[in-house]
């Protein structure tokens, strides 16, 4: 790799300025999005929600190498938890999100338990079982979920809180901002988690499980906790999704095909990159939208398939992975030298792959 033209010391004024610039840019993009016509705001909201869901998948599949074909179940469990709490128990919508997150963490943890013995594709089968089970369970417990007929959340119940000053008709904007803030929080958490000791254990588990185990990584707890966290984040997205669509049905958005959509988004955007899920979510929402005019959606499927294959051949790190590498050729953040008095020495070289 060629040496970068510009090296920026981590924690220096330049670095801070760049980070602030990145934040300002993100804020501007979000503000621009909020000012669009209602339909477009809705579409962008779904991008934000999918970005959260794919970030959740990224923790398990991207960083830890645990392929999950069952994330549709977490998405669905989150959505139905929110839906049932709002419709049946008349709970304040925003208060349902923590419940959805915790429930999905528990489910994820349970799904991770077989990982103590089962590995690789056999483990993917466990996630597959969960993905297949979810729509069937929704139909089975129709008293609770509305069954095959589905469940409708009345728009009155999704009204923005009073302090926002938004009218009922503006709940799209309200949900947009809720999703945006949630996404930012999730990205921050993912960033910190993957740079922590646990994050390194996750990546070590992915790259070589045996080697990781023999260097003291507790594989079993890494896998179960990662599955839990991954499910929790995707479930959180599911809760937001329930508010976004307002009508839930077992065959609508919570089948294995949704899992495949999430996996597609992850790899198009870039697995194991922080912003890959955002790019992936844009692709998952906008490619079908712009190609749906042609031949009732079949063309979008062909484009999707072709894009996936091209991505593997041309940019295996995904869109964000390639952009990040290109950027690192020009600018690179180097860790501050250990002798510098201001900052404690960084334990790992922090690569510049996050700030846009």
């Amino acid at each position: 790799m060629t040496s970068p033209r510009l090296a920026i010391v981590q924690g220096s004024a330049q670095h801070r300025a760049l980070q602030l610039g990145g934040l300002a840019l993100a804020a501007l993009v979000l503000l621009w999005g909020a000012g669009q016509e209602p339909f477009r705001v809705g579409q962008l909201t779904s991008v934000l929600i999918f970005a959260i869901a794919i970030s959740g998948l990224n923790l398990a599949t991207g960083y830890t190498g645990l392929l999950s074909i069952g994330h549709s179940a977490f998405f669905g469990l989150g959505a139905y938890t929110t839906g049932i709490l709002i419709v049946t128990y008349d709970v304040e919508p925003m208060l349902t999100l923590p419940v959805a997150t915790v429930l999905c963490f528990v489910l994820g943890f349970l799904v991770g338990l077989p990982a103590l013995r089962i590995r690789g594709l056999y483990l993917a089968l466990v996630t597959l079982a969960v993905g297949v089970a979810f729509p069937e369970l929704v139909r089975r417990f129709a008293d609770l979920t509305g069954g095959a007929a589905g469940m409708v959340i009345r728009s009155r119940q999704l009204a923005p809180p009073e302090w926002t000053g938004l009218a009922l008709g503006q709940r799209g904007v309200w949900l947009y901002w809720v999703s945006a803030v949630t996404l930012i929080v999730v990205l921050l958490l993912v960033r910190n988690l993957t740079r922590s000791r646990t994050g390194m254990a996750m990546i070590a588990t992915r790259d070589n499980e045996l080697a990781a185990a023999s260097s003291g990584v507790h594989i079993a707890s890494v896998k179960t906790i990662v599955f839990g966290l991954s499910g929790a984040v995707t479930g959180l997205a599911g809760g937001l999704f329930a508010m976004y669509v307002g009508a839930l049905s077992p065959d609508g958005s919570f089948t294995l095909l949704k899992s495949i959509e999430l996996i597609t988004g992850l790899f198009v955007g870039g697995a194991a990159t922080l912003y890959g899920p955002v790019a992936g979510a844009l692709a998952v929402v906008f490619i079908p939208y712009y190609s749906s005019d042609l031949a009732s959606g079949h063309v979008s499927g062909i484009i999707f398939g072709a894009v996936l294959i091209l991505i593997v051949f041309l940019m295996p790190e995904g869109v964000v992975g390639v952009l990040g590498r290109a950027l690192r050729r020009v600018v690179r953040v180097v860790p501050s030298s250990p002798s510098a008095p201001s900052e404690p020495p960084a334990s790992t070289p922090q690569k510049r792959e996050d700030t846009p």
Partner: protein
């Protein structure tokens, strides 16, 4: 008793179809080391070709044979052009290509033949009265035909693997590609053949299942079958053809019996119940019933 027999027949028929599809997955897995997620949709595509040929006035048998020839070419070409260049990189890459093919082939079939369900004629007599009575239960001839084809197909695959030179090469490549290459086996060609063979098997599965399926031939016909076949292959042990057959039949029977006899899950949770049982068994046999344990060195 007769109800039990009918459920048994149902289970065996479905299980037989899962078994051949699982066999296709196992043949690919042994050579390439991953599950070909696109196997079902490739089979769907060739089944559409078979349907189209019958509409053009070809007999079903001819259509089935042409479809499996197309399946062979499709599989072999896919291996050569899309899988081989990236296979060495990692399993995830192969899996993503397979997902791409999954989406692509399904959409392509929809684009060419639209999304309406087609009536696929059966290879066997499939009228209301074409059945034999066994112990008071009706055994339809088309189900019997499926059993027959499956037995023949499985016999052929075992013959190929265990009694022919190509089969020996295939087993050698599956076992240890480097050593096989050193002894003069053309591993590339063998892998292509393996994918082609899986294409043939899958095509047959498609032609057999479409007339039995409740929705006939539609864009979603093969997806559930692929799911069960994957479960069957994993259950039996991904690298074991015997395991594929046992796994397929086990899933078919479990599904039929649970639907019939376990009231709590009733007709609503058959797939879940079958999969949960398999997961439990995997807890005790983590590489499936007949799978070989992988040894790893650091």
């Amino acid at each position: 008793m007769d109800i039990f027999l009918e459920r048994l027949f149902d289970g065996v028929t479905n299980g037989a179809v899962y078994a051949i599809m699982a066999m296709a997955l196992v043949v690919v897995f042994r050579g390439t080391g991953t599950i070909n997620f696109a196997q079902g949709e490739m089979a769907l595509f060739t089944t559409y070709i078979a349907w189209w040929l019958t509409v053009q006035g070809q007999p079903v048998w001819v259509a089935a044979i042409i479809a499996s020839a197309v399946g062979f070419v499709l599989g072999a070409v896919t291996e050569r052009t899309l899988i081989r260049p990236i296979r060495k990189r990692n399993d995830m890459a192969t899996l993503i290509v397979a997902l791409g093919l999954f989406t692509g082939f399904n959409a392509l079939a929809g684009l060419i033949w639209n999304s309406e369900n087609k009536n696929m004629p059966s290879l066997f007599p499939a009228g209301q009265d074409d059945y034999a009575t066994v112990g008071g239960a009706r055994l339809y001839f088309d189900a019997l035909g499926v059993w027959l084809v499956v037995i023949l197909l499985i016999g052929a695959v075992f013959f190929l693997f265990n009694r022919t030179r190509i089969g020996l090469h295939m087993r050698a490549v599956a076992d240890n590609p480097e050593s096989a290459a050193l002894t003069g086996v053309k591993t590339g060609r063998i892998l292509m053949l393996g994918w082609g063979l899986a294409g043939i098997i899958g095509s047959f599965a498609g032609v057999l299942i479409a007339p039995l399926s409740s929705q006939q031939l539609g864009l979603t016909t093969m997806f559930p079958i692929l799911i069960y076949a994957s479960a069957a292959a994993l259950f039996g042990g991904l690298d074991s053809p015997v395991g594929a057959v046992v796994g397929g039949l086990a899933i078919g029977l479990l599904e039929a019996m649970i639907t019939g006899y376990v009231d709590f899950v009733g007709g609503t949770l058959p797939q879940t119940a079958a999969l949960v049982i398999i997961v439990f068994i995997l807890l005790f046999k983590p590489t499936g019933l007949f799978g070989t344990r992988q040894m790893e060195r650091l």
